[in-house]
Amino acid sequence: MGEPLLRVENVVKRFGGFQALGGVSLEVQPGERFGLIGPNGSGKTTLINCISGTLRNDEGRIFFRGQDITALPAHRRTWRGIARTFQIPRPFGTMTVLENLRVTLEYAARERARAGDPAVEAMEILAGVGLDPKAGAISGLLTQIEMRKLELARAMAAKPALLISDEAMAGLSSSEVDELLEILLRLNAAGTTVIMIEHIMRAVMRFSERIAVLDAGEKIAEGPPDKVVSDRAVERAYLGE
């Protein structure tokens, strides 16, 4: 294996006296589809908050493309190619769907390749996720599935090398889950590395090439999906003794 795209080294995050992450390490290879699972409160979202820069880790280091990004604010990490979605959609609610993408193209993709007119490009991305009929709608008024798609589309507009999808599918119907999976698979096929955090096992199992399992802030298993689900520790974490 060559140099990993993302290397998380012994990351610790505490909230007051509570340790949310107790020294997590993992590596994600370029082009990989990486799944991150674990019971509620296991630290998945905290970990990706640390990777995206929304939170600062107390100990440990994070490398992206071999460079230490631990001290960088979130927007600089985005400039380097890390984009994320939010578990609870956070659209720029007073803007239209198209404007949400346009402003992201203008700010996030700025230093790297950006082809042509941002409005045109935003429309192409929207068409890719099937949201183009809603381009002119105020984003705060969308339905759940539309907002999830917008979250994904906006993250895609950041032209990331690594896209982190935080429970994009929670609460969606089975056909809607398939629709989002399709979008992520297509994105990955076009060269974007994807970390998927998901509770819907069917989706993670189908999507991921490799899965890491978090429990109580520790990584308890890592490997190909079929190996991970048959792991004793994982079973214990999910089902108890």
Binding site: S52, A74, H75, T78, R90, V103, R154
Partner: protein, 314 residues
């Protein structure tokens, strides 16, 4: 294209203001018009921070008075000309705005607002205790001669304020139609998401607080010559904070037009009330109108208009 038309319009308005001074002689008209234009400037300045980025500033009085007192100081010290006063007032208040910008690192929402309110109290106390600029008892300022173009100094101030207000609106227009303005809006909508979409939020917030503070200082700079007697209670008056917040809210905060509509409407209303009923009634009027709008039309007059056009189209 639109920009060129608006620039032309602004030019026409300034020339128009000048032409008016040739024809209308009543001094009160200029006095009142200056007051309204000053509010166009203040409301526009407030809106750049409060409307575009969503950080509500209760300390307009502080920035305004700092501009005014910078002028008092420079008049006292070196008899500086009006142009210098305006530039200096803008610089000093802009600097204060830059400092306030760093507060946004830790203070969001209502806590930021409280801090700006406290700032006004602190600055007022400082001015009360600074004898050189008049202290608590205030200071009289003597107007210079109006020069060959104007028959009196209030006319000159009126034209200057018209130009300054227009300049502020131009700044707001430019911000709104640029990448910067779209970045501001992401901060207003969701700061954390903005940061994750590559928007350098701190840098943009510092820009917003600096520009907003600077324009408020510019609004205050000619104030000593306008009022000819500066004392802390009137310079730091709460009505500046209330008005510059209420006017954009009434007009509509998401567009540069909103503060103008609000300032002209509320400013005129207050002038009329001052003349016809009583000068004490001003803030009551503003309060009632503001409450009515917040409850009935939270997006201001522009929001109402937009809803109206949408309905007719549908």
């Amino acid at each position: 294209m639109q920009a060129r038309w608006l620039l032309a319009l602004a030019g026409v308005l300034i020339v128009g203001a000048f032409v008016v001074t040739r024809t209308v002689d009543n001094r009160y008209v200029y006095f009142a018009a200056y007051g309204i234009l000053q509010y166009v400037l203040l409301a526009t300045a407030w809106n750049i921070l409060g409307g575009y980025t969503g950080y509500v500033n209760f300390g307009t009085g502080a920035f305004f008075a700092l501009g005014a007192y910078t002028s008092v100081f420079l008049i006292q010290a070196v008899q500086a000309p009006l142009v210098v006063l305006i530039v200096a007032g803008g610089l000093v208040s802009g600097l204060l705005g830059f400092g306030i910008g760093y507060l946004t690192l830790r203070l969001r929402g209502v806590f930021f607002s409280i801090a700006t309110l406290a700032l006004a109290v602190v600055l007022e106390t400082m001015m009360v205790n600074w004898e050189y600029v008049g202290g608590a008892k205030g200071i009289s300022i003597i107007r210079p001669s109006a020069g060959p173009l104007f028959t009196n100094y209030v006319q000159l101030l009126f034209v200057v304020m018209a130009a300054l207000a227009m300049g502020a609106v131009a700044v707001a227009w430019f911000i709104e139609h640029s990448r910067i303005g779209r970045g501001f809006a992401t901060i207003r909508d969701n700061e954390e998401a903005a940061e994750c979409m590559g928007v350098p939020t701190l840098r943009l917030k510092l820009l917003a607080t600096t520009v907003s503070g600077c324009l408020m200082g510019i609004a205050g700079a000619p104030f000593p010559y306008y009022i000819t007697f500066v004392e802390p209670v009137s310079a730091f008056n709460l009505s500046y904070a209330v008005n510059s917040l209420a006017m954009p809210m009434v007009g509509g905060t998401t567009s540069w037009v909103g503060p103008i509509i609000g300032a002209v409407l509320l400013g005129t209303l207050q002038q009329l009330a001052t003349v016809t009923i009583s000068s004490e009634l001003n803030l009551l009027i503003v309060g009632v109108v503001l409450v009515a709008f917040v409850v009935l039309a939270p997006e201001g007059i522009l929001g109402l208009l937009r809803r109206g056009t949408r309905r007719t189209r549908a």
